[in-house]
Structure formats: C-alpha cells, structure tokens
C-alpha cells in the first residue's frame, strides 16, 4: 500500500489531520512530520526524512505539505529518494490527505494516489 507523509509547521495540525484521515482509512500507512525537533513551529528535514522511511514500501510514498518551508524542506528530502518512489502532491492539506489516504487504502498505485490528492483542487465547496 502507498504510504502517506503529512508535513506541516505545526505538530498539532498534522496529528489532527492524521486522526481525521483514520476515520476513513484504517490501514494505510500514514506518518507525520510536524514542527521542529525541539517542539516548536517549523519544518525539520530529518523528521521528514524519517517519516518517509517509516512508511516506505516498494509501492512508494506520497508527501502532502501545507505551506511555506514545508514545501521547500520536503523538496530537499525528495532529492534523497528515487523520484519514481517518493512524490509530492500539490494540493490543500486536509482535503488532499483524505482523498489520498482513501485512494491508497483501496490499493491504487502511487501516481493514482497523487492524482486523487491533486484532483481536490478542482472541487468547489458550494
């Protein structure tokens, strides 16, 4: 199953999103990398790398980020892995994470999971 990594400046934010995703995706491997290693706000390169490794499988890993340095730091971590195995999704975090984890749970491949996450950009809320 494709693994999902959630990256944010805030530890609370990603752990909240993880809980929220678990309502629908019980099995899919999800890891979070929120905040700095000293418990503050920020993004931590090593934390993201560890999170990716922790949900790594031959099916690959999709990283979902919120804003600012989350994106730039995730991009640097991406350079450490094979580009067919680890990808980033360009999507809003909450909606994208729900879509991606549900898609991954259904057994889809990495590209399909990424597409599911990015499709949420096209969905209007009202």
């Amino acid at each position: 199953m494709v693994g999902i990594v959630l990256v944010s400046h805030s530890e609370k934010l990603v752990s909240g999103v993880l809980d929220f995703c678990r309502l629908m995706a019980k099995e899919c491997p999800i890891a979070t990398a929120g905040g700095t290693s000293d418990g503050g706000y920020g993004t931590d390169y090593d934390k993201i790398k560890e999170a990716v490794s922790s949900v790594m499988s031959p099916e690959g890993v999709l990283i979902i980020m919120d804003l600012g340095s989350s994106v730039m730091t995730a991009e640097m971590v991406l350079d450490e892995f094979d580009s067919d195995t680890v990808m980033m999704a360009d999507c809003p975090m909450v909606e994208g994470a729900v879509a991606a984890t549900v898609e991954a749970e259904g057994g889809s491949d990495l590209l399909t999971v990424k597409q599911a996450a990015e499709e949420v950009r096209e969905v209007s809320k009202f």
Binding site: G40, Y41, G42, Y45, D46, G68, S69, T73
Partner: protein
Amino acid sequence: MTDSDKVLNILQKIADAIHENEQFLTDLDAAIGDNDHGINMDKGFQKVATDIPSLSGKDIGSILKRVGMDLVSTVGGSAGPLYGTAFMKAGAVVADKNEIDQEDFVSIMEAGIGGVQLRGKAVKGEKTMLDAMIPAFEAMKASCTAGDDTPSMLKKGVEAAENGVEYTKTIIATKGRASYLGERSIGHQDPGATSFTVILRAISESY
C-alpha cells in the same frame, strides 16, 4: 587570497553577527511574518559555530556544503532550505579548493543566488532576500571586473544590499508568508533581505 582557516574565521563572525541581531530579525518577522526569523537564523548559525572546530583543515567546498546541511537541518523556517541550498550550491563551485580569490567569491555569490531561486522560485521585486542578494552580487561583480580590491568590492556589495533592504519597504510581498498580507506588507523591510545584509556585512568587516 582567502584560505580555509579564514573562511572558518568568517563563519564564526557571521554566527556572532546573527546572534547579535537575533531579536532585531525576529521583530522584523513579527511585523510581516511569524515572529521567528532571528530565532531560526540563530539556531542555524549556532550549529555552524559548534561545527567549526571539526571543519578545520577541510577544503572550502566541503566547509560551505556542511554549513548548508547544518542550516537545512536546524533552521526550521523557509530560511533553512533557502540559505541551506545557497551554501550547498556555493560549495559546489569551489569544490576541493583550499584557497579562493575575489573572482571565486563572485562565483560563490552567483551560485548561492541560483540556489535560492531553485528552491524558492522567486525573482527580484517579490520582497525576499533576493532583493538584497541580487543587487549586492551585481555591485560586487562590477567592482571585481573594474579591478577593485576585496575590501572595496565587499563594501560596495554591502551598500547595494542595504539599498536593497530599503527597497523592500516600498514593495508588496508576493512570495513567502508575508504575501498573505498583500498591501499591508508595504512599509516593512524584509527580514530575509536584512539577514543577508547582516551576513555580508560580517564578511566585509573581516577584511
């Protein structure tokens, strides 16, 4: 000529200068960001300072790359991947060199700016560190070509960076956190442009 020992010396000066300006940089970020730029930068350069003894005897390329890695793994905010990539790219252009000259310094600056742009995808005029970096680079390149010595080249670079910081007060942020403020970002100087100027001034004062 600048050798590895001198580079380590300068890095310590930069770390000290960032430390002295920690509160100032954080206050600037409080106005148009999230109140952490000085804290972030100080965390990063204190880690660099801790690593200086272990870098003694290494070539300048390896030193700069290590600085980049330190910044990426400790800074926490956008400045981490941005300055981190800048130092790593800078290190690549002087790989294996134990001494660098004025022209190498200009190439280092150019590669560093390339790193910031690769990572942040910003251009001049978006109220970021680039608005100090690019004019400083251009001034130093022109000065180097004109045959100025290192101290005057660096002075001109600092002057251009300072003018760049002033310029950031007049424009709207379109990249980074400050971009959420839109028009309200006008009147405030950019924290990243300011930290770059602090760094360049520390380098200049070492000559």
